[in-house]
């Protein structure tokens, strides 16, 4: 870890600062297509995180997929305490940004490197949207 950079700068950012544990995969994200939102698990059989809980984790994924429902669903998930802690993506679409804004989920997107390769699964992260950076703490 020490030989590599542990601070990654995003071109797009919103929300408040948080610290938490990363759940990482080089895969997409749609709240409707990929999740069992009641159980708080990835449920799409072909998703690389299928069966894993996203609740309270900092999701580090490649890109937003699918339809417009995520714009409501992050808000609904947050209201039940069943939302991810933050979203850190290589790229996002407007839906994810709209959903994160309504649902108060901090989000970073747009990195020079593939962020899903740069951050190890299970790493402890600090997401700071004001500075537009995500830092690997350990």
């Amino acid at each position: 870890m020490s030989v590599k950079s542990s601070v990654f700068r995003a071109r797009h950012a919103m929300g408040r600062s948080v610290r938490g544990i990363a759940l990482v995969a080089n895969d997409g994200f749609s709240a409707r297509y990929d999740l069992d939102r009641i159980a708080g698990l990835f449920s799409r059989p072909t998703h690389k995180l299928t069966g894993q809980s996203y609740v309270g984790r900092i999701l580090v994924l490649d890109t937003a997929k699918g339809g417009v429902a995520t714009a409501w669903m992050l808000h609904e998930m947050q209201s039940r305490g069943m939302a991810p802690l933050a979203l850190v993506f290589n790229s996002v679409n407007p839906i994810l940004a709209q959903g994160a804004a309504l649902g108060d989920v901090p989000m970073l997107a747009g990195f020079d490197d593939d962020i899903t390769a740069a951050i190890p699964n299970g790493a402890e992260l600090e997401v700071d949207p004001k500075l537009g950076v995500v830092t690997i703490l350990r």
């Binding site: 950012a13 069992d36 937003a64 417009v68 429902a69 714009a71 808000h75 609904e76 407007p94 940004a97």
Partner: protein, 410 residues
Amino acid sequence: MRLNDEEQDILAGKLGTVPQQALQHQIAVGDFFGAEDFVPVTQAHIMADTESLGEAGVRWLEGLAATTEGRRRVCIPTITDPRGTDFSKASYLGQAPWMLDLERRAIAAFMKLGVTMTDTCINYQTIQAPTRNEHLAFGDTGVVIYSNSICGARSNFEGGPSAVSAGLTGRTPRYGFHLNGQRRATIHFRTEFTPTSLNEWGALGALIGRIAGNYWAVPVIEGIEGAPRSDQLKHFGAAMASFGSIALFHLVGITPEASRLADVASADLPTHRITRADVGALQQSYRKEGKVDVVVFSAPQLSLYELRALADLCDGRNFAVPLLAITSPQVKPDADRMGFTARIEAAGGTVMSGMCFYQSYAREIAEAKGWKRLVTNSAKLVNILGGYGYQPMLESMEACVDAAVSGSLS
């Protein structure tokens, strides 16, 4: 973002808290994407089924609707995507009373906000087709990709909260597909196969969406022969948007911004070749022979022509398993009047309106009805339902009807 005098007044609360809250939401999204200012929009389209909203989303809407101070009604034509039920068929679908209560509450709130309850995802076929360069705030990815690509209009994917906000403020942040530069092609496809059936058009769109892969990609496609029909392009675009989150494509010589390849693309774009075998392989990847639990035509809602074609296939048949055909509240009365509904239902099918299968508590329907193995001609539906615990299969309309008769795929 740079705000004009009117926007500064809205932000300062001079028009009331509802437009103020809407503009604050829009500024958060606009700032995230680096929008310089707002652009006026002429129509908004809201995706807001209650499975997506949940109790929290319905309360958010009710909060807006309960505001008595200032302006709370939308200021441009603002319409709705399918709802989470067809109230007249809810018991057949095994939907619980709490789902219907949420729907009723959401509808009441929308009405107080001045929203027109069209409940359709084919408004470009039935309500009012967008025109070239018309700036819009449309929800439903299928609506956006059709409006952008086929009509040459300009919209981003506007999720429910943002489309509500656009209806209330009459504008949207100017970023993404409102900008000329974002509408240039980023990836080139040459197809050696021009589909005829709707499922093949969907499969072709799915392949392109999968390869293109993200919202900011704009595929330009060469090789389509003839002039595709609206229903074909509807399935093509809806699948591309579903599989790839794509909001705009160009068909050279067909869509309005791409008379020639050079109109939208530079010479050095990466190129992908698609064959008939590729389209067949995508459909085959979902195929599992054996028992079928239910046949569904939905996503997007069916046009009058699709219902006509389905009615022709249903004559003289007798279904062994349920067959659902889902259309818009605008098309349904015509389908009734023309006798299409009666012919589909005489074979044992059910025609519903104002909902869409995947937006209607599909997981709970699966549990209530014991439906798992589902056959459809919609590539979009196949893509979505995997996450809802279904085993979806993509077949032609003819094969779907055959499966409803025999209760199996062979």
